[in-house]
């Protein structure tokens, strides 16, 4: 088919949006320029020390107090930070964060924190309004007061600087995928290695036709908000086309109603494309129920009664994976499974003839259709994978020498 100009527009506009965003970000990053607030919580905090017995202890004054707009938020909050005194835990120190409109205004308590905290995010404020903070350190009845912060005001920000790494990855990834897609359109041949499970698809459909038995295609139990389901529907398109060509008996029982609606469109279109719209029947794609195990009971029941020749279990599966696969195995069906749910892969591997593992599931539609555009996107994703492996190698080497730059760049948050 000819290159569609609309698709080119999509690709270009995506690239343009991404490129336009970068200068904006860099600019706003300069303005914000502070690391993000961490989740409050004392996961790593030391065992709480007993509160000091004597009330005569004078608490240390908190130093290094700063208050500024919380960077990378939608506005309405300030972050207060201070240096925790070294003996805070032994003293059983408590902090009271106080807030006022001006340095010498009326301070009111915002919150009380235990030793181990040196940061507080004060939310629910008004953007553009000025605030000052003080921190009181408290041991029993004694209180010490810090000097107040300079006035500052909260505001909404335009970029979450701490997600810069994700943006870089997004750009590198989208860039390489779109680049290879463009290249594939230019007619450059692409190579993809053999994927065992996918070579068996034709065989499975053929076998079902010969035996005059059913092909059962189960597109997982999740909705089409799950990418695995979309990948599964792409494979379903291929299987349905083959079934139409061979005049095999296909059935697609569904657990999710939106997946059901989508699968109906997919199968109908596949029969149309294969030139056999006359063979398409509404009952091919049907709905069972929304409960995972009720669905499983129905489908396993169907398996033992109708003894399908081929079962496709492709998509997102949970605990029902083995119930379906083992029943299918017991009725002697040839089984091709595929999922990216790590916890369910063992069961498919054990009970099915072929299993598409993780990334192979997503590559399947490209592999089956052999369409250059889709193959190009696999190439692009391979390039990113290669870059990530290099980054991983570099990160390991630097880490071994005690340098943490690369590792830190991978988790800025």
């Amino acid at each position: 088919m000819p290159v569609s100009s609309r698709n080119r527009v999509f690709c270009l506009s995506l690239a343009a949006v991404l490129l336009a965003v970068i200068p904006l970000l860099v600019f706003s990053a300069r303005v914000d320029g502070q690391p993000p607030p961490e989740q409050t919580g004392a996961a790593g905090a030391a065992e709480a020390a007993p509160v000091a017995e004597s009330a005569a202890v004078q608490p240390p004054v908190v130093e290094g107090l700063t208050a500024a707009d919380t960077p990378g938020d939608e506005g309405g909050s300030m972050t207060v930070k201070w240096t925790e005194p070294s003996d805070a835990a032994q003293l059983g120190l408590k902090y009271k964060v106080m807030r006022a409109d001006s340095p010498d205004g009326q301070y009111a308590e915002v919150c009380e924190l235990a030793a181990g905290e040196s940061k507080y995010m004060d939310a629910g404020l008004t953007d553009g309004k000025q605030y000052c903070y003080k921190v009181l350190s408290v041991v029993g009845p004694s209180v010490a007061e810090s000097t107040p912060t300079l006035p500052a005001f909260p505001r909404g920000n335009w970029f979450r600087m701490f997600r810069l790494n994700a943006l870089v990855l997004l750009i590198v990834f989208s860039g390489s995928v779109l680049f290879y897609i463009a290249r594939a359109r230019g007619g450059k041949p692409m190579y993809i290695r053999k994927i065992a499970g996918l070579n068996a698809v034709d065989e499975a459909v053929g076998r079902a036709t010969e035996m005059g038995k059913k092909i059962l295609y189960i597109p997982g139990i999740m909705s089409i908000d799950e990418i695995q389901t979309i990948a599964s529907l792409a494979i379903l398109g291929h299987v349905a086309k083959l079934s139409a060509q061979y005049n095999a008996d296909l059935e697609v029982p569904n657990k999710d109603p939106l997946t059901f609606a989508s699968a109906q469109e997919t199968v109908k279109e596949a029969y149309l494309e294969a030139g056999r719209p006359d063979l398409y029947r509404e009952e091919m794609v049907n709905y069972v129920t929304y409960d995972q195990f009720a669905y499983t009971a129905s489908v396993t029941g169907k398996m033992v009664r109708e003894k399908p020749a081929a079962n496709f279990l492709i998509g997102s599966f949970y605990a029902e994976s083995l119930l379906l696969a083992e029943t299918g195995q017991s009725v002697g069906a040839i089984q091709i499974s595929g999922t990216a749910e790590v916890a369910q892969l063992p069961f498919f591997v054990v009970a099915c003839d072929y299993t598409l593992i993780g990334e192979e599931l997503y590559a399947a539609s490209a592999y089956l259709s052999r369409e250059p555009v889709l193959m190009g996107s696999i190439k692009g994703q391979d390039l990113t994978k290669l870059l990530l492996m290099l980054a991983l190698g570099l990160g390991v080497i630097l880490e071994s020498f005690g340098l943490t730059y690369v590792k830190d760049a991978f988790r800025m948050q």
Partner: protein
């Protein structure tokens, strides 16, 4: 037009959460969260699609007296009873769908406790049996890969029960090591690869290359 509009909608709807991830500005996040709240409702509406299909299929079965048609009556009876109490309960009938304030069960809750839960729990529990039969059949030392699978499974199964610990304390220790090291490494590898694969699939959907889920034919 019929093909372009859905693809454009997909593109714009897909860009919103991506931008919202990086841009905290209030208007952007509002658009994203609003769309999110809409789609929850859309998913709720979708259930009726399924219900309609189930009623159609099963009444057809009964009308045609096709094989197993009496079971279609059982199915529709279950649907009617539970659907009625559920829908009526949602809008205040029969004291709602949970327990009443005095601790007694509403009809919906009673059916849930004494029919739904046992059915669901038993189906789930069948897995214990299926794991036994699957492991018997599949864990054979046919080749190197199958042997590795078998040995790893046996070590971990011994490591989880007191018996294994009594034979040698290395069973639980090795189990922990396998779970924390080689198992974790493989799972990470799968997750990184699958993450890239899913992202690539997503990108293909957003730019309109992958569209079989809309029944718009494949690629170009």
């Amino acid at each position: 037009m019929r093909k372009q509009v859905p693809l454009l909608l997909t593109f714009f709807a897909g860009m919103i959460p991506i931008i919202a991830l990086f841009v905290p500005e209030r208007h952007v996040s509002t658009v994203s969260t609003t769309l999110d709240s809409w789609l929850i409702i859309v998913a709720g509406f979708a259930l009726l699609l399924g219900v309609v299909n189930v009623i159609q299929m099963n009444t057809n079965k009964i009308k045609r007296k096709s094989s197993g048609w009496p079971y279609a009556i059982v199915l529709l009876a279950g649907l009617a009873v539970m659907g009625f109490f559920g829908f009526a309960g949602a809008f205040g009938g029969f004291g709602g769908i949970a327990t009443r304030p005095d601790g007694s069960s509403t009809p919906f809750d009673w059916m849930y406790q004494h029919a739904f839960l046992p059915l669901q729990g038993t189906m789930f529990a069948l897995l214990a049996f299926f794991m036994a039969s699957a492991s018997y059949r599949a864990f054979r030392a046919r080749n190197v890969e199958a042997t590795i699978l078998l040995v790893a499974a046996l070590i971990v199964m011994f490591g989880r029960i007191p018996f294994g610990e009594m034979v040698t304390k290395w069973f639980p220790l090795t189990t922990e090591w396998i779970m924390a090291r080689p198992n974790m490494a493989a799972q990470r590898g799968i997750m990184i690869g699958a993450g890239l694969g899913a992202a690539s699939m997503a990108l293909r959907v957003i730019v309109g290359i992958e569209r079989s889920y809309l029944g718009l034919g494949k690629g170009e």
